[in-house]
Structures are given as structure tokens and as C-alpha cells.
């Protein structure tokens, strides 16, 4: 039975307007509506449901049916440093999904918690020159109950590993079946003295809360799940929010400005509807959860005479300290068919190199996993999945294409990214989107330690693939990132209004009724797979925000 959808009047202030219905926005909407508040969620993407998703690689991946690549609609520019001219890249630099449920719809669902070290590594290791390396204003212990809530609220499948941080409750669901890439990763890693473990994923291995389990279709990374087994905000939080009768999801609503009143409070959220018409929603409190690229863009674009550098930007930190998590990719081919194009991306990971080890000579840590990566679907495989040294066309090329698809896997490394003030989201001075808004300009160059760590993990990947018996191995060169799917750090949290954008409860230091909660809140990058933490933060924030609202402290 479907609950009739609630519609709120635009002119009458609702308790909360939330910008963005993604990983964080979905949790906030569900928690606040369940707590009895009226909530409007403004989402620029369309309202697609499980039955609207497809396996059509050309439309979904190449043509960006559900993601930020649609250069006409969501244009972006990229440059490596402030002294370079920015260009429109072939592929969007800030890559995310534009659909109800946000990037949790098309993500791969690898769900790693941060560990205690991620929250206080600055204190443990000391300052790192030229970076904004800092502790979080909260500890792992404080966040642990919320990690556990994420596990049990959305459905995470997994099993404890040897290096895991403490957990107060076991995983709600057993591990996903191991894939051939998992067996091989495990075999190779053991042989070189490492400790492989089950990959935790936000995907159902068994029925859970009325949802069916994963059918291993394989169209997972970059695609929406047709069965709802992927524990996206769309499959979990959003229907529950709507079922309260107090939450309206308003799709195709692109927020372009937060309007402040004479008291320096936000009174109205201005947005374009699907026809480009200007609309406004009044709200007592606004929470921006538009992700680490769009959140700073909106705050910067909302500048006014009172806030000339953008909202909540007294520190000048809005849009700074962008962190992507660096990567390395190493390919291996085996004698028999893995068919790694089936099921989810990862079934086994290696976390032996999580901690910074000063003996390595650089800062950083990371994780390793086994997966098809881009070779999960045929077109991307053909474009990206073959060794670089062979012919690119002709009979020999065709033979290679035919030989490797079922027999290969990737061992991927993901690492820390140091927060650099020079890695930013800013407004492009020239390029405009179809509504006339300034496009996102991404400026990014990895810290040398991040690339050193990615290379270190690649060396381990080669060891693992060799020990697993790969008959052919090749490395993709570790180069400075030009694309990020993890958009972190651009409205960092902290106790000091001089050096951070939001406080430990995600309230902006400057505007009392403005909260920001999404990937932008991160202080450090973790070692990859940030979304488990984004959602834990959102559960925690929602509790505090509800408390403030009840106490009249907003």
C-alpha cells in the first residue's frame, strides 16, 4: 500500500528544507520526519525508482543518464592549479549521481567504517607542512553507535576482519558469496603474508526489511539497482521518510540560492522547477546535503552584501580541502574464467596497510580490493580493459578482446588524501549552466604522499596477483587525479570558526538555522569508501538537530 504523498505549501515555512536526497540527505529526511517534523527535500534529479533503472550501458554510463556528466545540464571545469586555465574535461571531474537517492543509487556499496586513527591522526603524527591535516571534533567511539545504526537501518552484509575497529553489534547480514576475484585476492594475499577479509557491502545478501536480496546482476557500479537490493537512500531511507506522511520529496528542483533575511538567518530556499520556473520554499531551518561539490557551490553562489564571500564562509574554508581518495589500478589475467562481471564489485579486501607507517617514508594508508572495476560491462571493458602495449585494432586486437574479458580482474588500491587548501570547488568565472548559474570549477592536484601511497599499494597489488598465479599483469600508471567520485572535505567540521565551516553538530558557525551534512563535512579523508561514515554522521546530526529544534535552539 502506498501512502498518499504529502505536499507542503511553498509560502508557509516548513520545519526543515533539505537540499539533496543522497546518502546524507536521505538519512536526514527519514530521521527528522520520523521525529515528527515537516520536511521538504529539494532534489535536482528526477524521481526514478527501481523499475526505471536498466542495464543499458550506452545510456547510463556513456551518456550519463543518471549522473553529473551531462555537460549541457551540469557543466564543470577542471584545472590542476590556480595558475592554470580551467577546461571542460571529457569526463566530469566531480562525478556523482543526479537522481533521487543521489550517488548512493549508482555507487558500488563498499562500506568501510573509519577507524579510531582517522579521527585523531593529526595528534598522533603531528602537523604535516603545507597541509590542513587536522583532527576531527569527534572520536570513533562517539560515532560507533551511528555506524551500527547504519548497518541495521539500511542493511549491510559482511563479517568482521582482523583489523576492524570495535563494533557494538554484529553485521545484520552474512557476507555476500565470494567471487573468483575474491578467491584469487585471498590466495595471493595469504601467500605474501597478508590478512585478507570479507568486503562489507551495502547490499543485501539475504532478504531484509521486506527487501529482496541481490541477484548478482553485475550492473552495479555506475547503475541503479533494479531489485532494490543495493541499500541506497532510494531503497531504504526515502520510502520510510515518505511513509511518515510528513516528508515531501520534490524532484527536479534545482536549488540556486539560499536567501538570508535581515537577521542573518535563512528564510527561503530558491530553486528552479523542471520547466526552469523560479520557485521558493520557506523553511525554519535549512540543511544542505548536496555533496562535497554542490554544497560549497551553493553556499558560494548565495553571497550577499552581508555575506560577500558566500554563506557560512567567514573562515574562507568553504570549497577548500577537497579530497578524492587517490587510487591505483593493477590488472591481472588468469588461465580460467573468473566471470567477474557478475555480482557486486568486491567480495574480499586487504586492510594490512591501513595505518601510516613512518618506515615507508611518507604519510598515508589505504585499502586493497579485488574487483572487475571498469571491466564489469562490455563497452568500458573495450575502452579501458586491455593492456596498453598491444594493437588497438585489427584481428590481433579482436583476439585479445575475446580472450581477456572473462579471465581478468583488477586489484585496486585506495588511499588517504591530505587536505590541501589549494584543492577546491569554486565558481567558474565564465562557464554557465542552462539556468545561468556559474558552473562548478574543480581545482585538484594530489599531495605527493597520496600518490606515493597509491604506488606503494600498486606494488603490493602486483605481489598479490603474481602470488595468485596471474599469467599477465599490468599497471595503470599512478597519475594525479582528474576525476573524483568521493567528494570530501569542502565544508569541514571543527570547533574553531576560524578554521572550519560547521561545528561538531554540523551547524554552520555563522548562520544559526543553516546546517551542512554530507561528504563535505569530512576533516580527513579516511582510506576510501566514505559513504558509511557520511551516513553515520547524518544519523548523528539528525539526532542533535532534532534536539535543537525541540528546545527552540534553531
Amino acid at each position: 500500500m502506498t501512502t498518499p504523498r504529502v505536499r507542503f505549501a511553498h509560502r508557509k515555512p516548513v520545519d526543515f528544507a533539505i537540499v539533496g536526497s543522497g546518502a546524507a540527505g536521505g538519512v536526514l529526511a527519514r530521521e527528522l520526519s520520523t521525529a515528527g517534523f515537516d520536511v521538504v527535500v529539494l532534489e535536482q534529479g528526477s524521481y526514478r525508482r527501481a523499475e526505471d533503472f536498466s542495464h543499458d550501458e550506452l545510456s547510463v554510463i556513456i551518456q550519463h543518464e543518471i549522473s553529473s556528466g551531462a555537460s549541457g545540464t551540469w557543466p564543470q571545469t577542471f584545472r590542476r592549479a590556480a595558475d592554470q586555465k580551467s577546461v571542460i574535461p571529457e569526463f566530469p571531474a566531480a562525478y556523482y549521481a543526479t537522481t533521487v537517492g543521489g550517488s548512493s543509487v549508482h555507487f558500488s556499496g563498499n562500506y568501510w567504517r573509519l577507524r579510531p586513527v582517522d579521527f585523531n591522526e593529526r595528534s598522533r603524527l603531528g602537523a604535516i607542512k603545507g597541509t590542513g591535516f587536522a583532527d576531527w571534533p569527534l572520536s570513533y567511539d562517539e560515532l560507533e553507535p551511528y555506524y551500527t545504526r547504519v548497518d541495521w537501518e539500511i542493511g549491510v552484509s559482511g563479517a568482521p576482519g582482523p583489523f576492524d575497529p570495535p563494533r557494538s553489534r554484529p553485521y545484520p547480514l552474512p557476507p555476500m558469496p565470494v567471487k573468483s576475484s575474491g578467491v584469487l585476492l585471498e590466495r595471493g594475499a595469504r601467500a605474501v603474508g597478508l590478512h585478507p577479509q570479507v568486503a562489507p557491502v551495502a547490499v543485501l545478501s539475504r532478504p531484509f526489511n521486506g527487501r529482496a536480496p541481490c541477484i548478482h546482476c553485475g550492473f552495479c557500479m555506475g547503475f541503479g539497482c533494479e531489485t532494490g537490493a543495493k541499500s541506497s537512500a532510494l531503497a531504504t531511507m526515502i520510502p520510510q521518510a515518505e511513509a511518515t506522511g510528513r516528508c515531501e520529496i520534490r524532484p527536479e528542483s534545482t536549488v540556486y540560492r539560499l536567501e538570508t533575511d535581515g537577521r542573518g538567518r535563512i528564510g527561503e530556499v530558491l530553486y528552479y522547477d523542471r520547466d526552469g520556473g523560479e520557485q521558493s520554499q520557506r523553511a525554519r531551518c535549512v540543511i544542505v546535503a548536496a555533496n562535497g561539490a554542490e554544497t560549497p557551490r551553493l553556499l558560494l553562489a548565495s553571497e550577499s552584501s552581508r555575506f560577500p564571500d558566500g554563506l557560512a564562509n567567514g573562515s574562507g574554508k568553504v570549497g577548500r580541502y577537497l579530497m578524492f581518495n587517490a587510487h591505483s589500478v593493477t590488472h591481472g589475467v588468469f588461465d580460467h574464467a573468473l566471470n567477474d562481471y557478475k555480482s557486486v564489485q568486491c567480495s574480499r579486501i586487504v586492510h594490512d596497510f591501513y595505518e601510516t607507517d613512518e618506515k615507508r617514508g611518507f604519510y598515508g594508508g589505504g585499502g586493497i580490493d579485488g574487483r572487475p572495476f571498469l571491466s564489469a560491462t562490455p563497452i568500458l571493458y573495450a575502452l579501458n580493459g586491455l593492456p596498453p602495449d598491444g594493437p588497438r585494432w585489427g584481428a590481433q586486437y579482436k583476439a585479445r578482446l575475446a580472450e581477456m574479458f572473462t579471465r581478468k580482474m583488477v586489484v585496486a588500491g585506495s588511499t588517504t588524501s591530505l587536505p590541501l587548501e589549494t584543492n577546491t570547488i569554486t565558481l567558474d568565472p565564465e562557464l554557465r549552466d542552462p539556468w545561468g548559474r556559474s558552473a562548478i570549477r574543480v581545482t585538484y592536484r594530489d599531495h605527493p604522499d597520496d600518490l606515493a601511497m597509491a604506488t606503494f599499494l600498486q606494488d603490493r597489488a602486483v605481489d598479490i596477483l603474481e602470488a595468485a598465479g596471474a599469467n599477465r599483469i599490468w599497471r595503470e600508471p599512478v597519475l594525479p587525479s582528474t576525476i573524483g567520485a568521493h567528494l570530501l572535505g569542502t565544508c569541514r567540521m571543527g570547533d574553531d570558526p576560524e578554521t572550519s565551516v560547521v561545528d561538531r553538530y554540523h551547524r554552520s558557525h555563522e548562520i544559526r538555522n543553516l546546517f551542512v551534512c554530507d561528504g563535505s563535512s569530512f576533516v580527513s579523508s579516511g582510506r576510501g569508501q566514505p559513504t558509511m561514515t557520511i551516513q553515520a554522521l547524518a544519523f548523528r546530526a539528525a539526532g542533535h538537530i532534532a534536539r535543537f529544534a525541540r528546545a527552540g535552539e534553531i
Binding site: H55, D56, E57, L58, S59, I61, I62, Q63, E65, A70, P89, E90, F91, Y95, A159, G161, P177, K179, S180, G182, V183, E186, Q197, V198, I215, H216, G218, T227, A326, H327, V329, H336, A337, L338, N339, D340, K342, S343, L374, P378, I379, L380, Y381, A382, L383, N384, W393, G394, K398, L401, A402, F405, T406, A454, E476, P477, S481, T482, I483, A485
Partner: protein, 192 residues
């Protein structure tokens, strides 16, 4: 600016490359029509017949037919016509001028024909000369996309592209998925 190669290698890249235009809705709207045009052997929409013949010939050198079907059997040219009249219409000029240039090279060699009329050896020689050019990149991309995209987009007739690489399209799968996880002695016991 990032070169295409560097771009493809940039491992932060979650996904591979794309062609510039992004009017995906048009593709969705006309996709099935393209599959039908191929099956009914309808005339081309974007391409003149002579250009289509040359383009098809290039595609057939990129993925030649042999013991297994190639670009020809997949009907890749129908995908190309569909793409160039839809989401890749921005690349139509590049493609037609690239073909004109290629045919000038044919004439310059004193050969009295268009590209399609050459023997395979001569075709390969000419293509080797232009393989680093954006025109060749575009045709290369369209050949692969046409071989591997869903048949509704015009190519991949009878799934010949998918069969070539061993990709089976099913709604879902059950384990074991491959040889290594199917073996009884797989060494994944302890950590699960």
C-alpha cells in the same frame, strides 16, 4: 590540458571515456527505431550511402570478420548512423571531413576508388597512417560502442559482440560465478 591517453589512464577515473555530446534522451527515444532500421535495412539517417560504405569498411578493419563475426555481422554501421544523428551529432562534421580526407589519400596514391574499394592490405596501410587522429578515435569509439551496446541502439545484432567476449546478458546470476569460486578446494574458508 589532459590528453586523451592520460585521461584514460588517470586511475581516479571511475569510468572510461565518452564522446562529447550527451543528449542521452534522444538515444533513448530513437534507440529501438535504430534496431528496427537495421533489421529492415532502411536507408541511413545521418550518413550518405557512400560515406556509410566507407565507414563500415573502416569498422570492419577495426573488428574484422573471421572465424567469429565482426563489425559487419554486428551491424555496427547502423549504430554509427544512429549515434551521428543523435547523441554524437556534434561529431558528424569530424566524421564526414575525416572520410573526405581519407579518400583524398586514396586518390593521392593513384588508386581509382573510394576507401571501401581497396583491398584489406591497402586499407590497413591507410588506417595506420591516420590512427592517431581524432577522426580515427571517433570511428574506433563508435565501432566498439556499436559492437557492445544493447542491440536496440543499432549494432550488436544477435548479441554477436557480447558472444565474442563471453559476456552473457541475464537478469541475474547465482554463484558459482567463475572457475575459481566454483572449485571445491577454494581457499576462502577461514575469513568468512
Amino acid at each position: 590540458m589532459t590528453s586523451r591517453r592520460e585521461f584514460l589512464q588517470s586511475t581516479g577515473a571511475v569510468l572510461g571515456t565518452t564522446w562529447l555530446a550527451t543528449r542521452w534522451s534522444e538515444v533513448l527515444a530513437t534507440g529501438t527505431a535504430a534496431g528496427r532500421a537495421r533489421d529492415d535495412a532502411k536507408p541511413f539517417v545521418a550518413l550518405a550511402a557512400a560515406d556509410a560504405a566507407d565507414l563500415a569498411a573502416i569498422a570492419e578493419r577495426i573488428i574484422p570478420s573471421g572465424e567469429t563475426p565482426g563489425a559487419r555481422e554486428a551491424g555496427v554501421i547502423w549504430f554509427m548512423d544512429q549515434a551521428l544523428s543523435g547523441f554524437m551529432s556534434a561529431a558528424l562534421g569530424l566524421v564526414t571531413s575525416g572520410l573526405a580526407d581519407l579518400n583524398r589519400r586514396v586518390l593521392a596514391e593513384g588508386l581509382e576508388t573510394r576507401f571501401v574499394g581497396l583491398d584489406a592490405q591497402a586499407q590497413d596501410r591507410l588506417l595506420t597512417a591516420i590512427e592517431a587522429e581524432p577522426f580515427f578515435e571517433a570511428v574506433h569509439f563508435m565501432t566498439l560502442a556499436g559492437l557492445f551496446a544493447m542491440p536496440a541502439h543499432g549494432g550488436n545484432r544477435d548479441h554477436v559482440g557480447w558472444k565474442l567476449i563471453g559476456f552473457e546478458h541475464a537478469h541475474g546470476w547465482q554463484p558459482p560465478f567463475g572457475y575459481y569460486d566454483g572449485r571445491a578446494d577454494k581457499d576462502n574458508g577461514e575469513s568468512t
